[in-house]
């Protein structure tokens, strides 16, 4: 699964997610990606999320919309992302990852699996990482 979230100079927010699905899935199996609120969600008033991970679990907790609910309660993008991933792990014992952004341009790339490749671009700086805790930067 791959995904992106963005806020443009006018403050409009968008998300996109695309996937080949789960290894050796049954023919016709559809995961979280095309489901609004699970594979992705975008609202100019709150923020945007793109998710990746075990699709059946992401749908059970509607992970993208859940994280934005936490942001509506005042949590930061990072705390909201971690709360959503922790709920999925504790409630349905599943791993995943998200990229999240809010209308002011705060962003997070968080995951409960050991790895997720991610990158961000803001103020002409490139940020990226793959293993838990990695955060490299360089001029874009």
């Amino acid at each position: 699964t791959v995904g992106a979230v963005a806020v443009d100079s006018e403050g409009n927010i968008a998300c996109a997610t695309s996937t080949g699905g789960m290894l050796n899935k049954m023919e016709g199996r559809v995961g979280d990606t095309p489901c609004i609120g699970s594979g992705g969600y975008a609202d100019n008033n709150v923020g945007a999320v793109s998710t990746t991970g075990h699709g059946e679990a992401i749908m059970k907790v509607t992970l993208a919309r859940l994280i934005l609910f936490h942001m509506e309660q005042g949590h930061s993008v990072e705390a909201a992302s971690d709360l959503g991933l922790a709920y999925m792990k504790s409630r349905v014992a599943a791993l995943g990852g998200v990229v999240t952004v809010d209308p002011r341009g705060h962003w997070a790339a968080r995951f409960s699996s050991r790895q997720m490749s991610w990158a961000a671009a803001q103020k002409d700086t490139l940020h990226y990482g793959l293993y838990t805790g990695e955060h490299f930067t360089q001029s874009i």
């Binding site: 806020v7 968008a14 998300c15 023919e27 016709g28 594979g39 992705g40 791993l95």
Partner: protein
């Protein structure tokens, strides 16, 4: 703080020999999206470009490089959503196209529906002039190897893809 774009290449097991390609792929995609934003482009243009680049990159499980289903075929899903009017478009179980995210955007822009699936999505793609590609062009040696490996009765595809609970 604006504009900003963040991308991911998928959470789960990334074998050591593929970590560099994966990191390079997300950095390339985010640069392309950021260039659009810096040029005054919309956030929708930026996220669709970023995801298109990663669909075209065989290192990622989307588009070219998708994992295979139980029968060794490629079925893909995609969604786009914009935050101004909460517009959204999605496709599911779609086959034989290179960029499902672009078809999802057409669903948002050209129909009153939220999602088109399987043969319906394929008919819509043809109607929109989206070129059909042979399934073989979406399959990589790596995805075929993983498919074969997970055919074994005792295999655990979810754990193979996502890794063990850390």
């Amino acid at each position: 703080m604006l504009p900003v774009v963040v991308v991911h290449g998928g959470a789960g097991q990334i074998p050591k020999q593929r970590t560099e390609q994966s990191t390079l792929g997300v950095c390339t995609a985010v640069r392309a999206a950021y260039t659009i934003l810096r040029g005054g482009g919309s956030s929708m243009d930026a996220v669709v470009e970023a995801v298109t680049q990663m669909e075209d990159n065989p290192s990622f499980n989307a588009g070219h490089g998708s994992v295979l289903n139980a029968k060794g075929g490629v079925e893909m899903d995609a969604i786009v959503m914009e935050g101004k009017t909460l517009g959204s478009g999605a496709v599911s179980a779609v086959r034989n196209i290179a960029n499902p995210v672009q078809l999802a955007r057409l669903v948002m822009d050209k129909t009153s529906h939220a999602c088109l699936t399987a043969e319906g999505a394929s008919q819509f793609a043809r109607a929109m002039g989206v070129p059909e590609v042979p399934e073989e062009s979406l399959i990589t040696e790596y995805s075929r190897m993983r498919w074969t490996k997970n055919l074994a009765p005792e295999a655990n595809p979810v754990e193979c893809q996502m890794g063990k609970m850390g």
